[in-house]
Symmetry: C2
Subunit: 491 residues, 2 copies
């Protein structure tokens, strides 16, 4: 199966598409730009959701659900917001179909036109802040710490499975606070949750930082971001957390009586991650044999495959395998025993490599007799023979080691592909020919940022946190700069 | 707080609305017919989802995700289906907004009209069967057992929180099978899962049966249903499971090679339950003091309230309460300790009664000294003083007893409000003046069913399973009937 994958080094983009489809993660649907997330892909999303939801609740958040539709007039209230999203909105204008007068089919009923058009939410700040207006009167009603798991729609012209789709699944946190400081703390806290998740569960190292004016969220004061490096040297924004100031509170007139008894506008944050993370998971770790899934998010952590001739051997091996499966499951692992007689072991090996199952156990007649198991790890593609006694502890430890190894490998890759660069020629060469993260000086103006983007397709991904002060000259204009910023081409 | 509820016996409908809003379950949004599900209401939905999802997986199903939008042409393929849903479809016709030429605001960009309109899914049979076409070639690809958790939109003219809303949340199972028998078995299996959930988790007894031709799902061969009786004597359809025959396979040309090597159309089922179940939960159990939640679905199972004067008493009681909370949580219970100093105990008692928390523990200075706790149960509103030693076992057992008691009470209510009725006068009298389930004879024709509905607003809710044969005469026409059917007015 894996041999049908395009070679990653030859055509990274095609390799990615092949892999997403052949590993049964997702496919394009009949609706332009919308994908079908297949069961195996959705199982990864469920694992991601479960962990993130636990983390959100551990930081005091609760879930709620707000409408899919947003009245057009709400949208216009926050000027920067509508500017940012107007060009990609799906608009509902009618609420009924009917038979065409000539009987040839079904048409939109012209008599069922909405008085005010409804926008399918591209994000929910407006409808949520319109709701919060009724929920918040006093500082005692604050903070409101609410998250929503939902689908959103942004009419993208060029789409790619998981990375950029017209409809996608996400979570969006929307919090309300009595002070600016508290809201900023919250925005940073949630960026921390995202970093923790992406690094420790997805095994993908990230750079934390703040976006430039031109890259920030439409309606935000500050957008915080985590940026990851993919294997083709392009950056992927893993999640963003926005300090919204009082922008939406002003737009929707959400005021509260503070501790001093004075009326003030409420302070806000919003933050989100999407099904795009599945694309990042693929692009950060997979190889020419298929997916490499981190054990903490793998829908199947261990697969057991019998190697046998005839039913007698199979029965003996199955007895051992099922016993082993039960022991591993008792230790909290997700295990599949694949005893299909329609496929040979070699086919199965390739299939589970393609699907990125972290550990494969094979049991043949000699293993059955000798009390051993062949243990193969997906990340290194290495094999060893292990005694069945103690196998549960061995596999449990191995899964932990794989989780760490995947992260270390991605971190090493990032370190090897992060450059400090001081000349325009070198900058262009790296961006064009090598790819990777480039730490370079920039004069801080949107004009220069725009020009660099037009010349190289590289953008400022982030002004990294904890970046040391350093006198320098802008890579393009030579004007003075106090600090390096992170440049890359990005998804 | 509870005193603000309308009396249930005076105005059931107003009582319901008051309760949903005052207990913080949901509220109407700015978008016609769409609700905001507030955190407390959503927490109940999360509990429901978790149990149902576990049950679906235990019966071999996996989750996936299909597009929100359905091309209009797909919709027309299955004649009965489009007939059933055309009148309530939200239609996306454009994909962009822009500034109005006069600068006064934002308008729909007339240049961004879709070639083919998209329907916001009211249910997903059409888009899913169009997808299954590519997934199914052989009997070896069957069965496909897939579920989706999603939002759907049906443009309802008269809406009520949870019971009937334009947008609602639900799950929809869509399965594909090689034989008619297997598909019918699946449809009944999932009806069984729904019965189990509604009876054993929600504590609401149901009648299982099949719908009449006029009440079945648009596109189904048979619709199986579970029907519950609400406290005002009206029926509520709790969930439906459809045997779809080969209707959607024919409409989307989904054929497979069967075991005999011949091409045949695939057999289908679909089944769903919605956020409407939250409305059922309220209407089946709640009283004039507020919600009565079954322990298995209560977001807070136990609340502990300190009764004290001054900080010294509070500190002593808090030490005991927090210790108790930890012990209860260790036993797997969800516990809140409410030591807010802004509200008096009486206020808190009323608040948790309103919110339906099954067990309330109160600890005063005497309890602190004497080693006791006051235990109050929400279902019976009774109190007792219990020794703190052994309190965990006591509360655990009490929650089980409450779960059973709630169900028994609802079952008794249903038994007392189920009538066998043989004359038209009596039938009209019961439907009009008493409400409840009426088992009566019907001649089996859609015309009579329609006439009874027009005359009394009662419909045939189901032809119950395992209903004994019994010769009789139709309640309206006097024509012969072989079996009684279940009539009621319904939500």
């Amino acid at each position: 199966m894996a041999r049908f994958l395009t070679n990653r080094e030859e055509n990274y983009s095609q390799w990615y598409n092949d892999l997403v489809i052949k590993a049964d993660l997702a496919e394009n649907s009949a609706v332009r730009g919308c994908m079908v997330i297949k069961p195996y892909g959705y199982a990864i999303w469920e694992k991601m959701q479960a962990e993130l939801d636990r983390m959100f609740k551990a930081t005091g958040h609760v879930n709620a659900y707000f409408p899919l539709f947003i009245p057009k007039s709400f949208f216009s209230r926050e000027a920067a917001h509508v500017e940012g999203f107007a060009k990609e909105c799906a608009v509902v204008t009618h609420y009924r179909l009917k038979k065409s007068p000539d009987g040839s089919g079904i048409i939109v009923d012209p008599d069922a036109k909405l008085e005010e058009e409804l926008i399918v939410r591209p994000t929910s700040e407006t409808i949520i802040w319109n709701t919060y207006k009724d929920w918040i009167q006093s500082y005692r009603d604050l903070p409101l710490l609410i998250n929503q798991w939902a689908n959103v729609v942004r009419w993208e012209m060029r789409t790619r499975l998981f990375l950029r789709t017209t409809e996608f699944l996400w979570q969006e946190g929307h919090t309300a606070h009595a002070t600016s400081e508290e809201a900023q703390e919250e925005a940073l806290r949630m960026l921390g949750v995202y970093s923790d998740f992406v690094e420790n569960y997805m095994g993908v190292p990230v750079v934390r930082g703040v976006k430039t004016e031109s890259e920030k969220f439409a309606g935000a004061i500050d957008t915080y971001t985590i940026e990851a490096l993919m294997q083709d040297g392009k950056a992927l924004q893993g999640g963003t957390s926005h300090f919204l100031g009082q922008n939406f509170a002003r737009a929707f007139d959400v005021r509260f009586t503070n501790r001093e008894g004075k009326l003030d506008y409420v302070w806000a944050t919003s933050w989100g991650v999407t099904t795009r993370l599945i694309g990042a998971l693929v692009m950060a770790h997979a190889d020419n044999n298929g997916l490499v899934l981190p054990p903490k998010l793998a829908p199947i952590q261990v697969v057991i495959i019998p190697i046998y001739k005839g039913n007698e051997q199979l029965d003996a091996i199955s007895a051992i395998a099922l016993d082993l499966k039960a022991s591993l499951e008792k230790a909290g692992l997700t295990v599949r025993y694949d005893d299909r007689d329609t496929q040979k072991p070699g086919f199965k090996f390739a299939e589970y490599e393609l699907k990125g199952v972290p550990v494969r156990l094979a049991i043949g007649p000699r293993d059955a007799e000798g009390g051993t198991v062949e243990v193969a790890r997906r990340d290194t593609l290495t094999k060893e023979t292990v005694a069945r006694a103690g196998i549960v502890e061995h596999v449990t430890a191995l899964l932990e080691e794989i989780q760490h190894n995947i992260y270390r490998k991605a971190l090493t890759f990032r370190e090897q592909n992060t450059y400090r660069c001081d000349t325009w020629e070198e900058f262009c060469d790296i961006i064009e020919n090598r790819g990777g993260f480039v730490m370079a000086h920039w004069d801080g103006t949107p004009e220069t940022e725009e020009q660099i983007k037009n010349l190289t397709k590289a953008t400022v991904r982030a002004l990294p946190f904890n970046n040391p002060d350093e006198e320098g000259k802008c890579i393009l204009t030579g004007r003075p700069s106090q600090r390096r910023v992170l440049f890359a081409r990005a998804y």
